[in-house]
Symmetry: C2
Subunit: 452 residues, 2 copies
């Protein structure tokens, strides 16, 4: 009987993360202080991040040890299985081999705990007793709640009010793991009160929630802030995904021609692809790494590579990245995790240097792909994840057209158990492609201050 799952044993789990900064052909542009516009140093970040993470943010070391305590928690669900998608291949009639990495097996249901656990660990090491963060749909908040639970730290989550009301299940899950969850805007921060004063009925936004979480952390000695995507150290921690894939594919004598992930802030795509980009840069491997983003929020395919702030309020450093402009308001698609105006600086630089590709896809095709996947491989994917599935299916069909037996690897970054309202809408014919008008993107980008 053919085997569907490739399982790496716990003792073979990677013991180091891969840092792509060691191998990039062009150096990263430094982050800039939002006030002075001068390169931001460790001292600018230390009020809200621990020194270990600031060092990782700027490190050029290729391999960074994963602490024993982090490995121990990873081993609750890692190494995650790699699946050969025999059923999907058959349904598509493609000669391509399709593999997917099952990151939905973590207790929080996605790849996010890979960095949450590491961040909680380093903060704990430096005496921090509480982490604050923001969350939109709740994937990240759940992951940090889980991680803080393991290190016996308090966790405060500012959850965008509209999600707090519409996605009570994710809020409950955070509370099960002991987090304090607030509907943002709150009246406990200045940023929150400012919003409520102007708009008492505000349903919140990720930008407001970030401002509240940063403000909560900035003033307090025992509290730090934690971010689930975008930053370099987050991409570093996620590299365990691709490192495991390499070992697992080796077990079946395969090497991917394509590595595919959905792309919002960039962390799951970076996680699966960076270890392969290592081979592309250093060993000239002919692997194509493709980030899939929504047509509704197309930062890589339609954004501009320039300096922009990471939040709406301007608390974060300016970062060099593909951005749609921080005033860009993406339409309300179901893939909330991909509704971000900018792209991780690392992913952006690699895209700028031609080492990765990007494609934008519409919502209808994404949900059609999700349904095809659920009905062949069984697993219900998150709407974000379904973008990667759509990308993989498109490539597999191109292989069919060309009669090519390529090997495709994609990241099944999370399950959709908390996203069934989106599937309801799709089955009821309510989901349509949303493309963002180019002139509004141009306008938002044009409003950015030119620096560099």
């Amino acid at each position: 009987m053919r085997e569907r799952k490739i399982i790496l044993s716990e003792k073979d789990m990677p013991k180091k993360w891969y840092n792509i900064q060691a191998d990039m052909p062009n150096p990263m542009q430094p982050p800039l202080h939002p006030g002075t516009k001068k390169p931001a140093g460790p001292e600018d970040l230390s009020p809200i991040f621990p020194m270990a993470l600031i060092e990782q943010e700027m490190s050029k070391e290729r391999w960074i040890d994963i602490p024993e305590e982090v490995l121990d928690i990873y081993s609750l669900w890692r190494p995650s299985p790699l699946h050969r998608a025999y059923n999907l291949e058959k349904a598509l009639g493609t000669p391509a081999k399709i593999y997917y990495k099952q990151e939905g097996v973590s207790p929080a249901g996605s790849h996010k705990p890979n960095t949450a656990v590491a961040q909680a660990y380093y903060n704990k090491q430096e005496g921090i007793k509480r982490l604050s963060t923001e969350t939109g749909a709740g994937q990240w908040g759940c992951s940090l709640a889980l991680a803080c639970n393991y290190f016996d730290m308090d966790c405060t989550v500012y959850m965008v009010k509209v999600s707090y009301k519409q996605k009570p299940y994710r809020r409950s899950l955070m509370e099960v793991w002991g987090a304090n969850v607030h509907a943002s805007p709150t009246d406990t921060t200045k940023s929150g009160r400012d919003v409520l004063e102007k708009t008492p009925d505000s349903l919140g936004s990720l930008g407001i929630a970030i401002s509240e979480a940063v403000e909560d952390a900035a003033g307090k000695k025992d509290t730090n802030y934690s971010l689930g995507s975008v930053l370099n150290h987050v991409m570093l921690h996620q590299s365990i995904i691709g490192l495991e894939c390499k070992e697992q594919l080796k077990m079946v004598d395969q090497y991917p021609d394509y590595v595919i992930g959905c792309c919002g802030g960039g962390s799951n795509f970076a996680g699966i692809s960076f270890p392969f980009i290592h081979d592309k840069i250093r060993d000239d491997k002919q692997v194509r790494c493709i980030g899939i983003e929504p047509l509704a929020c197309p930062s890589l395919t339609k954004g501009s590579f320039t300096y922009d702030i990471g939040d709406a309020a301007g608390f974060t450093p300016l970062m060099m990245m593909y951005t749609l402009g921080h005033d860009f308001m993406p339409p309300g698609i179901h893939a909330g995790g991909l509704r971000y105006h900018g792209q991780s600086p690392l992913v952006s630089q690699l895209h700028h240097d031609g080492l990765i590709e990007a494609r934008a896809v519409g919502q209808e095709g994404v949900f059609e792909a999700a349904l095809t996947f659920a009905r062949t491989e069984g697993i219900l994917p998150a709407p974000e994840t379904a973008h990667a599935i759509k990308g993989a299916i498109d490539v597999a069909l191109e292989c069919k057209e060309a009669g090519e037996e390529k090997t495709i690897l994609f990241n099944l970054s999370g399950h959709g158990h908390f996203d069934l309202t989106a599937y309801d809408d799709y089955l009821a014919g309510k989901i349509k492609d949303v493309e963002y008008p180019q002139e509004l993107i141009d306008e938002s980008i044009a409003s950015l201050e030119k620096i560099s």
Copy 2:
């Protein structure tokens, strides 16, 4: 580094189910026709079940081959991991070793697909094009929807109306896999119309839904009915759980002193324990198998071992089982899967013969155990499953008291991703122990017709 997960490879997955009817010290009492009260034969069951399942229902063969096609679908998620609960052990301070079998990794989120896939397969083999069934909270309906999807069969699910309204996520999941889901009572069956005529606002019950599903199947040549628990062939299919556990424990040189499962209709408890009861009967192994049931619905601990019907309407054969009486209306606890008046005839006979034990536990302790588990092992359990956790924790604390290094195995039968309302209620202090008054149980049992 110690390993938390014991993984059996796909090629080592058991190829035969274990049929405990081959080894029982006392033979099963036959099912009786509800009208004539004479032993029911294959011809009484053939209008709604395929012959292969009827044969399995009555078979005395010890080992029954799992068809290749069923193994192939099992391999999408099986063998399921066996976890050593190091974190839970540490939190309890127990010298006992605790292992749990992770059945929540199936696409439907529980052990139920183990029998759903087998049932769909045998029906398909005999030319059946559609299966009808009932579902309460939706676990079983999802599993049969998934199974029918794989064999390209239609699936009609009568979902208790109150759940249809309160648990829309499970309904959506069934629809994602292509099932037709109706809020029961419907106006498409006579049973449904009879109810609606008397009670137009009826919120339904499992009894009514069973009647509708059976009626839908009974009259049609290409449609059969499918049941997710109670019957002998269901217990047979679930035996793969315990068979895998035996192999996995062998890999770490362990044998359980205790095997624990929650007990409603009996299928997940039977699945994990019957292969060990085999050893107890044939090799005199000193293993204690304990079924955990809710105080609110204590069929094994407070019911009577007698003939009773399986549904409320009297369509099913009379079966010899521990029952609270088919008129018994269990209080509305969150563990909907354990709210059944009777117990599987196989589990009942084994309990009557002293080969298994039973304990009843209250809801508060169950949710406290669930939270302890979620905060140590990470995984959020279903409320039903949390009964097994409570049972395992109690035994582990008894071991601590006695200073005994026993080995405990329990079945983590399903995740609780669709049950977060229950956790909300617990965290808000709204969940209290519900014990059913003995006199009402006595009354319900006394009303049963005496046969035997």
